[in-house]
Amino acid sequence: MSDFPKIITQNFDIENAWDINVYIERGGYKALQKALSMKPEEIVEEVKKACLRGRGGAGFPAGVKWGFIPKEIKPRYLCVNADEGEPGTFKDRNILEKDPHRLIEGIVITCYAVGINKAFIYIRGEWRKIARRLERAIIEAKEKGFVGKNILGKDFSLDILVHRGAGAYICGEETALMESIEGKRGLPRIKPPFPATKGLFGYPTVINNVETLSNIPSIVLNGGDWFANIGVPGDGGTRLFAVSGHVEKPGVYELPVGTKLKEIIFRWAGGIKDGKSLKAVFPGGISAPVLTSDEIDVSADYNSLQKIGSMLGSAAIIVMDETTSMIDVLDRVVAFFHHESCGQCTPCREGTSILKRKVSKFMKGESSQEDIDFIEKTANSMIGRCLCPLGDACGLQVATIIRKFRKEFEESLKKRV
């Protein structure tokens, strides 16, 4: 499978591609010019045909999402989710650092297509330098007339505001993101109502991930069918797979949707470091239930991973070798969810708290067989009960790790006695 286009990463190896002049030289902002000559509905159609599924983790078809925005209500908003926080994910960061204009161009086209005049880029607070670079890029784009009032002479204006987060993973969840922009604690909202109906400040809102929007210029230039034909039916285009952990070549790999997980790890990321063997993989960040080494012969697309009880999510592939202690892994997983739980709903708030205490006890070697059973039971009690996917994901992940690696946990009890 070596014959696929580089859509997102086409400028990654070019020095200073974040400079607008370099971007324009390499064909940048041509898609915007084309888009402004099309009807907004036409653009939405192309994106629907492209089968572009959200790249943030939920995988909702972008064109369909845009279609939910009611025609009459104004204002409407676009929120760009640049709050990349799922452990193991670093693909959006690469786009923001190396090719921010691709994102900006995608934002302008999207706003034109949906009739939006104000966009917020929610970028995680820790990335202050990247936020500054993004702001400079927007100013550059404004100076050239690609952003701001009457873009390229058309009756379409767009204001883009970079809004920094302040250290809360939960703000990557779309409704918590909106709460945060509104100046409140990042507490996810109950859905329905959905953002398309009642979103930012109560108005219809589209929320899209950085990578999702970065695909839009190419889709406009080459058409939706072209994009859909890369990838698998219903899940078009390429994806940025972020591979980390015990691999020879950690990094971002742009590959067609549906590339085999095994291939991504062994062919592209160089296989397991130092000649070790594979033990386990998180295929989509730590929110994706862990896979054992004999479960990786699976196509990396949303449906295939769902079928085997896991998920593709943010396509952050975390590779663990034979030396990895799954108890340590469980400890890190639980520590993360416990730290990032917003605390609103009972099962997540209390569940992550109990799990943290129990797993800490395990790490100190003070646990018993009962404790393993109780950890599993507690995790299972969280699944499907929580207000947002964080708690559900924590429960499912912990339950899966215990289920698939129970022997290791039981053995460790014997060792520590």
Binding site: I190, E340, I354, R385, L387
Partner: protein, 493 residues
């Protein structure tokens, strides 16, 4: 109108009704913590999860609107399990305070656990310890260990009073209810926080450790401290009250009505019990050479002759009397005994707000106006004028509340004054005769609120040391004055 099938029951509801509300209408109770009918639903406690056909995930009944054709099951095995597990989560770090917690007997955690909890004992670690006595206002105490973070208190102060003093600090299991330092809860509706807290996390000093709720009896009544007429419950000793406490009024709580919905203000809640303090038990004669308690007969004898000259008699009554008491005053004093100089007064206006409190601090001004005419205030001013000119030989004051009017005291010293009231106060030394009567808690009757709504209430307490009712006193006065009106009195009772 959407049509819902819930646990096999069919019900049609208005668009926008949630499953939980629809269930209530169908007579089905769905357990909850964070839901409160007076607040917007939050959906965070997860106790009200129910099964909706066609939906693989359980949904919160309090936030889900009924769609036409929805089929809901509130008792499936999955729902039962979810409830058990949510309760187990809440109980894991909940202190076993029931033996000393005021909320026992009214606690949603107790109730929900009783009805839906599992008896499996968890493998427990040490409970997270938190502060148990945080003053969030002068009289409200927060116990953070008991708190289940339903956020009803925070939402009440956002949605109802708009004062926003409480906040949830931090996140995850470090979340705690807190105030901004130096800015405690400070509004007229703070007492409602105790009612809405589903557990014993917020308690008030007023009631703390005073009584177990199952030894109390609740009497439905109406608050007499302003013209709104909020409906209340008065908690008094029940049949099996164990101790010899002298306390008679234990608690005032809101009672739902369209007038006040689920709330009452702190004035009614905390000041009402004072009406039962400093009671007068017997008639008192205040003479130059001393003060002495006398019998009713002796007291009445000291002034009944004044009624022979009704033109020289003035009566000042109170806007706190019931419609029935006012009718009696009109029928006996005005119609039968020919006393025309009758005026009404009461507490001065206070500050009102746009929530419940009305500036008119009297419960029955409307009722007085309905009976005597809208010009009663003008006629009262005329009576005051005549009082100042020394027109009267005898002045009869009825009610504790008239003491606020300065006009009264300008003339009281020069005229023979009799005051019928229920409580001692520092101003009674200016009168000649004191006759005790029953207070608000000991009578029944009707008030007409500022919107013209008549509200009846019954008595909450037996009379203090057998003091008579106003009706008794008036009938004794009238018979001593030689007026036979037993027939009318019988009709009135």
């Amino acid at each position: 109108m959407p049509f819902l099938i819930i646990d096999g029951k069919e019900i049609e509801v208005k668009k926008g009704t949630t499953i939980l509300e629809a269930a209530k209408l169908a007579g089905i109770e769905i357990p909850h913590f964070c839901y409160h009918p007076g607040l917007k639903p939050a959906g965070t406690c997860r106790m009200c999860l129910v099964e909706i056909s066609g939906n693989p995930k359980l949904q919160t009944a309090c936030t889900t609107e009924v769609q036409d054709g929805m089929v809901v099951n509130t008792n499936s095995p999955a729902v039962k399990k979810a409830r058990e597990e949510v309760l187990s989560f809440l109980l894991y770090d909940h202190p076993l305070d029931c033996p000393i917690c005021d909320k026992a007997g009214e606690c949603l955690l107790q109730k929900n656990y009783n009805e839906h909890g599992s008896t499996e004992i968890p493998v427990k670690e040490e409970m997270i310890r938190r502060e148990k006595k945080v003053f969030i206002s002068e009289r409200l105490i927060l116990d953070r260990e008991r708190c289940v973070l339903c956020t009803r208190c925070v939402r009440f102060l956002e949605e109802i009073t708009g004062t926003r003093e409480l906040l949830v600090s931090k996140r995850g299991d470090n979340s705690e209810i807190d105030i901004f330092q130096g800015i405690p809860v400070n509004n007229l509706y703070s007492g409602n926080l105790v009612d809405i807290c589903p557990v014993g996390a917020i308690t008030d000093l007023d009631f703390r450790f005073k009584a177990r709720v199952w030894f109390l009896k609740e009497i439905p009544s109406v608050c007499p401290l302003c013209g709104r007429g909020c409906n209340i419950f008065i908690d008094v000793k029940g049949e099996f009250f164990p101790s010899l406490s002298k306390e008679r009024i234990f608690r005032i709580r809101p009672r739902y009505s369209e007038i006040n919905k689920y709330w009452i203000c702190d004035i009614g809640r905390y000041k009402l019990a004072e009406l039962d303090k400093n009671r007068i038990a017997n008639p008192i004669l205040l003479e130059p050479n001393g003060v002495r308690e006398v019998s009713f007969e002796e007291a009445l004898m000291s002034f009944s002759h004044y009624f022979k000259e009704p033109d020289k008699v003035a009566i000042l009554s109170s806007y706190h009397l019931t419609n029935e008491e006012n009718q009696l005053i009109k029928m006996i004093f005005y119609d039968k005994m020919g006393i025309k100089n009758i005026g009404y007064t009461g507490f001065r206006d206070g500050k009102g707000d746009n929530i419940l409190l009305v500036s008119d601090r009297n419960p029955n001004r409307k009722g007085v106006k309905k009976l005597w005419g809208d010009d009663i205030e003008k006629r009262t001013q005329e009576v005051f004028q005549l009082m100042r000119r020394g027109n009267f030989n005898f002045l009869l004051l009825i009610g504790d509340e008239i003491l606020e009017d300065e006009n009264v005291f300008l003339s009281v010293r020069e005229t023979f004054t009799v005051w019928i009231l229920s409580r001692y106060n520092e101003l009674y030394h200016n009168v000649r005769v004191i006759l005790p009567m029953r207070n608000f808690f000991e009578k029944e009757g009707t008030f007409t609120n500022i919107d013209g709504i008549d509200q009846s209430f019954s008595s909450a307490l037996p009379p203090f040391k057998n003091v008579p009712s106003l009706k008794d006193i008036i009938s004794q006065i009238s018979s001593l004055s030689g007026i036979k009106i037993e027939k009318e009195l019988c009709e009135r009772s």
